[in-house]
């Protein structure tokens, strides 16, 4: 079968299955670290930090990104009633990203490269601590991943921009919507004519694109910036590592570590505070009306919220540098604290929109999509507030780099929040993609409850170790001070893993292992 004749459903299913496999790998890595933190020596400590370096790459780019890409590849053309611009690019992207994640992962597992995802300069090229071959491997892996992300964005934009005869304004309107120009024109119109928000057309006379599509496009802008920044970081490491392998050691002081850190976090935050939140909001705007069987509440306001999110994501990076004293204090206060609160407003309004849309659609049929969607908002609400505690000029002094941020913020956001939302989408998509939903309601419910209890419980247990003083990115040899938190965290992690297992069993029971393998390898009947 040629790439272009592959059904879109099959492409999406391939993405989702590989994403789920990477989630399992990230989970195994998580357990390896949990066991080490329980003071049970399983791996050497340099290997521990190498696992810690690989873990977010596998979790973010292997699981979350692939799952989201697969879903968007199906949803964007369907919602626009168009063909995907290139199925070939979609498949190349899938294999490229899979290869990139495996290569970046092997940098840690094989070469024990442990500069962490933060890559604080000049640690990635500190050759007394890591091998140049490990750095080179890591840089190649990350480069492949980011090129794949750029291919995805290109494919999505090309799909949206492609137009039929008689609709020559499509490109113009989508560009206007993607960059929020419609919303800006609306604000200007309101100022000039004192017109009510409800009567603004924003200068775009054609029907505006669905808010989900607008979210995908605006989140994509952040994803592109993030990719470019990471590719440049990878290139710098590449140059330094190739030189070192060739026997020439370049001076790390050629790059200023503080400027590098600002630039790197500005780009990296485009994921955490940019496209994750914008794409999340967009997905909620899609799911809520679908589940409530009614129009989205306050759709006009939502378009402004998405625009605000795009602007906020550009200015929040300094909350990662609140403890960097050479960073100008006013920049830390304004960008690190006040602008970060912009996310409180944008996400607060997004959750409100989703929840009130459901409320107005009562009675709503209970479904796994609904449960996971509510679970996701619950997770984001818990993790988001913890992030605001950290992104505070005063509180950061006693919280920065503790387990609070790793547990109660990051893992709460990614596992209870983002992953639950991805599961909500998967439960919605599966019947559309395959013609039948998962057969066991009992297993689906077990999946939901075990996942939620496990992810929330683990995040809180680990996070509270942070307020007790335990650092993230550290090990405590011969100290039992934080062990109770770690033991409880491990118990909840096992509960969460059982939830994932219930889902996998349900998928295999429904479709059969042979069918799932057959999505990738043609099998004889």
């Amino acid at each position: 079968m040629s790439q272009s004749s592959i059904p879109l459903e099959k492409i999406t299913l391939r993405y989702e299955i590989i994403a789920l496999l990477f989630l399992a790998v990230a989970g195994i890595e998580g357990f390896m670290m949990r066991i080490e933190l329980d003071n049970i020596p399983l791996i050497s400590y340099d290997h521990y930090f190498a696992v810690m370096t690989a873990h977010p790459i596998v979790g973010i780019y292997g699981w979350a990104y692939l799952a989201v890409m697969g879903a968007f590849y199906y949803l964007v053309p369907k919602l626009l009633n168009k063909e995907l611009y290139s199925k070939k690019i979609a498949m190349i992207g899938l294999w490229m990203q899979t290869a990139g994640v495996i290569i970046a992962w092997s940098a840690g597992f094989v070469f024990h490269y442990g500069a962490l995802y933060t890559l604080y300069w000049p640690l990635p090229v500190a050759w007394d601590r890591f091998s140049p071959v490990g750095a080179l491997t890591y840089a190649v892996g990350v480069a492949l991943i980011e090129i794949s992300v750029l291919l995805f964005i290109f494919n999505i934009f090309a799909t949206i921009f492609s137009h039929k005869k008689g609709s020559d304004k499509v490109v113009r309107n989508f560009l206007i919507a993607a960059f929020g120009i419609d919303a800006l024109l609306g604000v200007l119109s309101r100022i000039r004519h004192s017109r009510r928000l409800s009567h603004m057309d924003g200068g775009v006379k054609d029907p505006p694109p669905p808010v989900f599509i607008v979210s995908v496009m605006r989140g994509s802008i952040d994803a592109v910036i993030n990719s470019i920044v990471l590719i440049v970081a990878g290139l710098i490491i590449l140059v330094y590592s190739i030189s070192a392998i060739a026997g020439t050691y370049l001076n790390p002081q050629l790059i200023d570590p503080l400027i590098y850190k600002n630039w790197y976090w500005w780009g990296l935050d485009m994921i955490a505070d940019g496209d994750v939140l914008i794409w999340t909001a967009g997905t909620l705007y899609l799911l809520a009306p679908l589940l409530a069987n009614r129009a989205l509440y306050g759709e006009r306001v939502v378009r402004y919220v998405i625009l605000a999110d795009l602007i906020v994501s550009m200015g929040v990076w300094s909350h990662h540098l609140l403890s960097d004293r050479p960073q100008p204090a006013m920049l830390r206060l304004v960008s690190g604290q006040f602008i970060t609160w912009g996310e409180f407003f944008t996400m607060g309004l997004s959750f409100f929109t989703a929840l009130i849309t459901l409320w107005l659609g009562r009675p709503i049929k209970s479904s796994m999509s609904l449960k996971f969607m509510l679970g996701a908002i619950f997770g984001f609400a818990l993790g988001g507030f913890a992030g605001l505690v950290q992104a505070n000029y005063g509180l950061n002094v006693i919280i920065h780099n503790t387990q609070w941020i790793a547990g109660i913020h990051i893992h709460m956001m990614l596992l209870a929040g983002l992953s639950s939302l991805i599961f909500a989408v998967i439960y919605t998509l599966l019947p559309m993609l395959t013609g039948k939903g998962l057969i066991s309601e009992r297993l689906s419910n077990l999946h939901f409850w075990l996942w939620m209890i496990g992810s929330v419980g683990m995040s809180i247990a680990v996070g509270l170790a942070g307020t007790a003083g335990m650092l993230r990115r550290d090990l405590y040899f011969g100290t039992s001070m934080y062990l109770p938190y770690m033991y409880i965290g491990t118990v909840f992690a096992i509960i969460m893993a059982l939830g994932y297992l219930m889902f996998v069993i349900n998928v295999i029971k429904t479709y059969g292992l042979k069918t799932l393998v057959g999505l990738f390898i043609p099998l004889k009947q």
């Binding site: 962490l116 604080y120 000049p122 007394d128 503080l258 306050g298 004293r325 204090a329 509510l374």
Partner: protein
């Protein structure tokens, strides 16, 4: 009560509040409404405006409290000033702290300044109580003077630990009882 314990308490209340809301919300979602309202079709509805007011109040309360209540804001905020009585220069290199004296002796309630420099990679400079809770920390950016003023309000022995990962030997970057605060 340490600030960390207050954070835990506030978070516990917040957690219970959010959990209660979701339990009630989810339980009512599948039942037909006794009465319903309409809104949101023409811009920001009344309910959304009320919600926005709630968000603004939370924003103001949280930020005003953390800008004024936390003791160290008196000397750490951009517009604050505190003149240190003593300055301690600490160097970090190759996973090692080089202290001017061990232990560093400080008087309680006396402003002191720590200037920490790294000669190789990024480290962290964190001070911890005997029970493991953090007193304060800062990042140590290499080749920069990283400076922080602190006033210790409790006598006792304090541990110094690097709070930023710097390579595989990072967990060993700890000096117990490196600071002694005298009454």
């Amino acid at each position: 009560m340490y600030i960390q314990q207050i954070i835990e308490l506030i978070y516990a209340v917040y957690f219970l509040g959010v959990l209660t809301f979701f339990i009630i919300f989810a339980s009512k979602l599948t039942k037909p409404p006794k009465r319903n309202f309409d809104g949101g079709e023409h811009g920001m509805g009344k309910e959304e405006k009320q919600w926005l007011v709630v968000l603004i109040i939370v924003f103001l309360v949280f930020n005003i409290i953390t800008l004024t209540y936390l003791p160290w804001q008196k000397w750490l905020l951009p517009w604050a000033s505190a003149k240190p009585v003593k300055t301690f220069h600490i160097t970090m290199n190759n996973y090692t702290f080089y202290l001017p004296e061990n232990p560093i002796i400080i008087k309680v309630n006396e402003p002191v300044e720590f200037i920490v420099t790294s000669k190789d990679v990024t480290y962290g400079f964190g001070v911890f109580r005997a029970d493991g809770t953090m007193v304060f920390q800062m990042q140590v950016i290499p080749w920069y003077n990283n400076s922080i003023i602190w006033i210790f309000d409790e006598p006792g022995n304090y541990t110094i630990r690097s709070t930023e990962y710097s390579g595989p030997e990072h967990p060993y970057m700890v000096i117990p009882n490196a600071i002694r605060v005298m009454p």
